[in-house]
Every structure is written in C-alpha cells, then in structure tokens.
Symmetry: C2
Subunit: 350 residues, 2 copies
Amino acid sequence: MSKKKEITIYDLADSLNISVATVSRALKDDPVVSKKTRKKIFELAEKMGYRANHFARNLRVRETNTIGFMIHELKSNFSNAVLSGVEKIATEAGYDLIIAHSAERYEKEVANARNLFNKRVDGIIASLAFDTRNYDHFKWFSDKGVPVVFFDRVERVRGNTVVVIDNYRCGYEATRHLIEQGCRRIAHVTSNLARNVYTDRFKGYRAALDEAGLAFEDHLVMVDNLSENAGISSAEKILGMQPMPDGAFITNDFVAAAFIKTLKENQVAVPGDIAVVGFNNDAIAHLIEPSLTTVNYPGIEMGEVAARALINHLKGASDIRQIDTVIINSGLIVRRSSLKKKPLIGLGKK
Amino acid sequence: MSKKKEITIYDLADSLNISVATVSRALKDDPVVSKKTRKKIFELAEKMGYRANHFARNLRVRETNTIGFMIHELKSNFSNAVLSGVEKIATEAGYDLIIAHSAERYEKEVANARNLFNKRVDGIIASLAFDTRNYDHFKWFSDKGVPVVFFDRVERVRGNTVVVIDNYRCGYEATRHLIEQGCRRIAHVTSNLARNVYTDRFKGYRAALDEAGLAFEDHLVMVDNLSENAGISSAEKILGMQPMPDGAFITNDFVAAAFIKTLKENQVAVPGDIAVVGFNNDAIAHLIEPSLTTVNYPGIEMGEVAARALINHLKGASDIRQIDTVIINSGLIVRRSSLKKKPLIGLGKK
DNA sequence: CTGAAAGCGCTAACAT
DNA sequence: ATGTTAGCGCTTTCAG
C-alpha cells in the first residue's frame, strides 16, 4: 500500500523558487509564461514524477471531462461496435468514458442515470432499456444543461438530439426485396413494438406489403426478445403453419441464424422454401450457410457520430440543441439467403 | 448551458442551523448523528436537489473509487464478455470503470497506462497488447501500491496477480481429441507465439502430438492475426498441401468458421476430410455448419473473478499480493466439426 | 511575465 | 451528539 507522497505544484514551485501560479500556467501551456521557465518546469515535473491532480482541478473548474455511456446491453456486437466508436472519439478528445448498463431494466437505467448525474458527467450518450416508458431521469440532465445524445433506442425527450438509422426505410427495403424475389407471405420476427427501432422497421414492412397489394396477416408478426431461442421458436411456429410463409424479415442476425438453422434441420430450404433477411450485418451473417442477406447497421459510425456531436457541443464548436436528428447511412446487403430468383455470381466471396 | 447553482453541504447546514460536520457525517450514515437530525438532513437534501461532489471528496480522501480496464481490443466477443463481467462486479461494489483500449498497440497501451495513472485509478484490470514486450508502464502502479490484475494476455510482472485459463491443458485436450478421432496430421492456426495464451496452447498441441508419437511438422503451424482473412488464407494454404492435413486446431472460432467455409467451398468435407476444433465458444460456434467443436473460454466469469479479486483487495477483505495465479474453469465442447468417428446423437440441438 | 491569495466542497482531527 | 477549523491541490482574479 505504501503510497509515496505525491508531488504537487507547490513542490515544483518551491524547488524552482517561483510561484505556484506560474507552475500552473506553464503546465497548461499558457503562452504567457516564458519559454525558459516553462522548460524548467516541465523538466522538473518529469524528474520528480509529478502527476496532475484531476480532482483538485475539477473541483475548481467544475468540468469532469467525462462522458457517460448508458447502454441497454453490453453483450451484443452492435453495442460493442458503438462503444468502440464512442471510445475512439472520446479518447482522442481527452474525455473519459464511464459506462453504465441497464441490462434492459428501467429501474437500473434510472439508478445509472442518478449515478452519472452525481458523478457530474459533462454529457451523456444513451440507448434506452427495453421497458423504459418514463423519461424523467433524463430531465435531471437537461435541467442542469448537461447534453444528452440518444442513439439506436431513442425517444424524443425535451429536444435532445437523436442519432439513428432510417429504420422505416430499412424495413421497407428488406421487405420489398423479399417481395421482388417472389415472396407473397412474409413473416416478421421482431421485438418490443413500443421501441422506435422495431416500430419503424415494422411500419416499413407494412408499407412494402401495402404497396405490393399483399395482405397483412397479424399472426405472421412474431414479437419476442431477440434471443437465439426466439429464432428457434419462431421457426417452429412457422413450421406449424399451413401454408407456410415463403419469406421472413427478422430484425436480428443471430435470431435469423438460429431461425435458418432450425428450418434446415426440418428440411425446409432457405431460400428455396423461405427467403430470409436479417438485420445488423453481424460477422456471423456471411459465415453461415446460406450467407445471410441483411441490413447494415454501422455501430462504429453511429458511436463516432454521437460522440463527435456531443463533444463538439461541449467544446463550444457547435450547438447540439440545434440538431434534432442525425441519420446514419445504412442499407440492404444482399447475400444468398434471400435469393429465390437470380443466383448472383460471385456472392460467395464476401 | 445555464448551470444552476449547485447545493453544497454548507447550504444544507445553513438552512438547518447546524454545522457542516454534522451534515457530512449524516450523509455517510455515521451512526453517531441522531436519527432525528439525520432524517431532517436527508429530507432537505432530497428537496433541495443536493448531489455529493465526488471531486471534493476525492481530493480529501484520495480514493477515486475507479478502476481502470485496459483491453487490447474492444470488438471481440471475448473482450466484451470480460468487460461485462467486470462491469457487473464493479458496479455492485460502487466502483466506476474507465476503459482504455490499446488497439493492440504497445505505444497506445503505454499512453493509456499513463492516463489511468494520472487519473489515479484505485486499481487496474489489464490484458496486454499484441506486441507489448516491455512492462515498465505497469511499474508505475506497483510503485504507488496500486494493484494490477492481468487476465487473458498476461505476463508475470513484479508479482502482479494473473487470471487465466489453463491454455496448455486446453491446447492439449483439443489436440488429443483430434488424435482420438483418428487425425494424424494436425494443422495449428494461431497468433503471436510470444503471447502466453498462444504459446501455451501451442505447447499443449505439441505435447499431445508427442504423446501420440506423431511427428511435429513446422509448416503445419500457421501464425497469423486471427482475422477472418487469416481463416481464409490458412485454409487456402492447406488446400495446396499434399497430402492435406486431416485435422486442424484453430485458436479462434471466427477464424475457424471462415476456415471451414473456405474448405467447404473447395469441396473439402468437414469433419470427413479435415476435423476442426476452434477456441472460445463464441455464439457462432453452434450456428455454423457443421457445428463447431471448440474450447469454452468463459469471459464473463473471468471478468467477474478478476474484478472481485481486485475489489476485495481494495476493500481490505483480502490481500491480492498473496495470490499469484487464478485459473478459471474451461474445457472442450465437442460438436460435429471434429467427429470423424462417432456421429453422436442429439448434438445438433445445442 | 510573474506572484499572492482566495476559494472550489468536503472530511477528519480536535474540541465541546 | 454536534461544532470549528485546517487543509486536500488546483485555478484564477487582481496586482504588480
């Protein structure tokens, strides 16, 4: 434990017979201090093993240089990708990240918000939990002028900024693609329809059906929790239908993978009997067989954009309150699992 | 921005005509303050929207209640799992996590260490970058009595604690399993053999070969970066060999998946022509075809164990310096990709 | 270009 | 059971 005494700017000042004010200024590269003293100070600091005390500093300037990352789940590739995008930008800009995950539970999300609030983070990047319906815990931040950027699972709360993909268009494109491949009865496996991402994809799905003059069938929409088991059980449901659907739009690649696997084990051919489109473009998508048509959901980019928006605001380089929504590029990636018609050449490679 | 004035314990004390000392004591549940005043204080704190100032506190008590998580890569399922295990334990114990990732680069790792050092984290949980060979940046911590726990990619540095699986045994078991299945020429696809995890697995591989009286062939060991491309290119190399190996032990499931896919595209049967064992037990392992025999690498558990060891030490509940190594349970999971002999029944389900 | 000094909010002796 | 008070290390006026 033997914590040695820490060197402070007082020690530096004493050793050099100058004032702490000068040391403080030098250490933050204030151009007002002369090259010569500046140099002396830095050399001594290095030599004596000085390290800045962020707490003293923060206590004075009331900035934490920390941003809070609130995530509904830590174990998915998507969250992961977003986190790594956020981490990259935050680190570059000299911000620390403190991560708080709700495990999809509203109560935990509230507790996390309180913790981050008490810790006085400078800003928040957040995706909502599965069952969050009340957003008062974000008002704490807005009330204090702490900016909040939502991504993925968002809700428009008191004018906070939102970073998303166009889930409606993606749902529409996925479904239209299936229709173009000749599908006439298309199942939809998804999650909580109260959450924007899933509603919007669902609306896109319906719009494509409507446009093509296909009937919407209630029982073809299966809402579950996007676990692998959901993929298995929805496949089993479909196996029991007669006639069976001839297409499926599934809002998660892992679910789609489990879905396809189950179908294949039951001698249903994909895409022959049922064409399948997933969502996210996880690495798994091009490794399974048949390779999975899916919608690209660029997590890293989303994280980078969200972090940049927040940090630019914090640094005064822009005003985030002017921005309502940022939409990230995304789109359909066609692979074999959906190709009833034209077995495209060269698709196997990537 | 309009940050409203923050309430301090002075405000609370003034409003109640008591001293700040009493307020401070009450707020930390010091039993010495009377129930009645305690209650008054808490109610007022709630009403006035008081929030503790951690910086002032830390400045006084010189504890940050923060632990640093140094990771070589943020985008893998394994890192992810460990992170979520660490996060769980840390949050429960009231510690914040600040994450720093090296992107496999030594220089970045050093910079991260410096940052965490300056931020005065109470402890460190770390996995080393690909090319780290010098460990002086961890001495900073030991010199100040800040405990460091290494996991996964570890190096024994000045008696720091290490949390690992038995990579040697796992490598041995994987290889012996292939031998038992009748394989006689077993390829090994792995990464940087200077890193403990890969050396140890390699040694296990060799030991199993030796034990079975099989010749070790240098060119059957392929060292690469564990990217998907590594899977493809190693498969291509193998396709060019004559005679072809009849087994492969690959230290990563994604690489193994790409490897198998490439083989299949070239009309090589798995496990018929080549039996394959992966490593990690990523979700992908049981979703591909054939389902992948692999070694379970329980990231969540590893994260939990590492975090618990560190935190118990910080809280004085144990002394981490007494512990050299903690070995986490792991072991072979047999699925179809390696079964040349007995096509076990019921394996397809999970 | 440099110094002196106040104060950020809290805790922990040391009183009472 | 409660109060007084001296810092923790830093930044930032205000004055030279």
